[in-house]
Amino acid sequence: MDLYAFFFYFFAVLTVGSAFVVVFSRNIIYSAFALMFTFFGVAALYVLLYADFVAVTQLLVYVGGILVLIIFGVMLTTKVFSVEMKTGTLNLLPATLFTAIIAGMLIFVFSATDWNVVPDQEWDTTVYGIGALLVNEFILPMQVAGVLLLVAMIGAVMMAARDWTKLKSK
């Protein structure tokens, strides 16, 4: 087994294993930290796929941004001072059936299709290609994404502010 395959299996197991912990852990803070390992695993898989820029963005946005927000959410919405934070499950049987069907379908489609693969692609850096695409062909979606972020920011501040009228009078 070569080094590449070893790394792939290692990070694949890390990703899936910690994803299991995220979903099935009884302690919500363990879920949050397991999610961090999932994000790390996915970032490592990006590196194996020669997508260095995406990998670092993954760390920057998911691990450094979204997960911090989630942990804030956990700390603000649970009794933080008790270390035990139990959360329950529901609808186990129908959910299992449904997901089994989804998994079967996805794996069947993925493995049955004959993908038009370019053999042994070696990328030097992806930054330039992505940048050129973003400011040429996809300039309108990028602008829209920017507007979306602005709207989301204002909306989040409005919703989370304790009393909006008081904030306005300031």
Binding site: F33, M36, D52, F53, L59, L60, V68, M75, D124, V127
Partner: protein, 346 residues
């Protein structure tokens, strides 16, 4: 293959050794300088001028009993200091501490990991450093720890924005995310005399970055996470012995790494201005490069220490106001001006 791995390994070992020694002695420097500023003597008993004090400190911390509070979450309580220190040390991997050096007929780049996206790597790792503190605060099961860690998370997340946006200006000037390219770009001269360091090219970005870096490293005047009068010791209140030592090391490692990043991005890295006008042998040139880098980092570090002992702590609302209402618009303005000038110069 084996050869490259071996070279990388040697580089990692040397850099780690130097970095950890530097961390230990920056603690000593901080204590001596604070003593000088407050008209005290400071540590001067162990060895000549107290120079062996760091060793004594480490020995003391290692042999102290490690106490874990009864209701703390033990695995996370142990993990937190490790994350803090690892993240701080890992950031150093992409920083070029010299140009190239030719040893035994082999040209070696003086950087551990020469990656395409060094600038982003630094930002990513600085954003991860929140976790050590957040985990420590939460797992200690102590209200002071938790308040400290919540404050620090909010502070770091807010100042990360200005940090990232300030770096965008440097990226625009350089046209590359490679850190060695950033340094190379600063070896030119402005108007033929002034070295083209980014602190002259990007003055607004430079100030924004330095202030944000102070906030990111939780240093005075932004050390609210461990404001002693209010929060006992902040997030590391419940830590003792070696684990407390790790947090202590991490704080100073963060400072050194921050100084190295400031040096690389804004102060010309390993480049000594005007040295290329004199004829020096390549070997000497490499050594001068490394020395220049070390001296610049030390100066920035001393600056950080002096600031800590001369400026009072910010209030929490002032801190957030400064971050969002001053630093953030300034960083945006910097990007706008940089873009405008680049467009006009085209």
């Amino acid at each position: 293959m084996i050869e490259t791995l071996l070279i990388a390994f040697i580089k990692i070992v040397i850099v780690l050794l130097v970095l950890l020694t530097a961390v230990a002695y920056s603690v000593y420097a901080e204590r001596r300088i604070s003593a000088f500023i407050q008209d005290r003597l400071g540590p001067n008993r162990v060895g000549p001028f107290g120079l062996l004090q760091p060793i004594a400190d480490v020995v003391k911390l290692v042999f102290k009993e490690a106490i874990v509070p009864r209701n703390a979450n033990k695995p996370l309580h142990d993990l937190a200091p490790v994350i803090s220190l690892t993240v701080a040390l890992a950031t150093f991997a992409v920083i070029p501490f010299g140009n190239t050096i030719t040893l035994f007929g082999e040209e070696v780049k003086l950087i551990i990991a020469d990656v395409n996206i060094g600038v982003l790597y630094i930002l990513a790792f600085s954003s991860i450093s929140v976790y050590g503190i957040a985990l420590a605060g939460w797992s200690s099961n102590n209200k002071y720890s938790l308040m400290g860690s919540l404050r620090s998370s909010a502070q770091m997340v807010s100042y990360e924005l200005s940090l990232g946006l300030a770096v965008v200006g440097v990226i625009m000037v350089t046209g590359s995310l490679r850190l060695d390219q950033v340094v190379m770009n600063q070896t030119n001269y402005l108007f033929g005399v002034l070295p083209a360091w980014n602190c002259f090219v990007q003055p607004i970005g430079f100030i924004t970055f330095v202030v944000a870096a102070f906030a990111e490293t939780n240093r005075q005047p932004f050390d609210l996470p461990e404001a002693e009068p209010e929060l006992v010791g902040g997030f590391h209140t419940e830590y003792t012995g070696l684990k407390f030592g790790l947090f202590f090391l991490a704080e100073y490692a963060h400072m050194i790494v921050a100084s190295a990043i400031i040096t690389t991005l804004y102060l010309g890295g390993w480049h000594l201005p005007y040295i290329d006008m004199i004829d020096v042998s390549p070997m000497l040139m490499s050594i001068i490069g490394i020395l220049t880098f070390v001296i610049k980092v030390t100066l920035v570090l001393l600056f950080m220490i002096v600031i800590r002992w001369t400026i009072p702590r910010f209030r929490y609302d002032q801190l957030m106001g400064l971050g969002w209402k001053v630093m953030f618009p300034m960083a945006l303005l910097n990007i706008f001006i940089t873009g405008l000038i680049l467009l006009l110069l085209q």
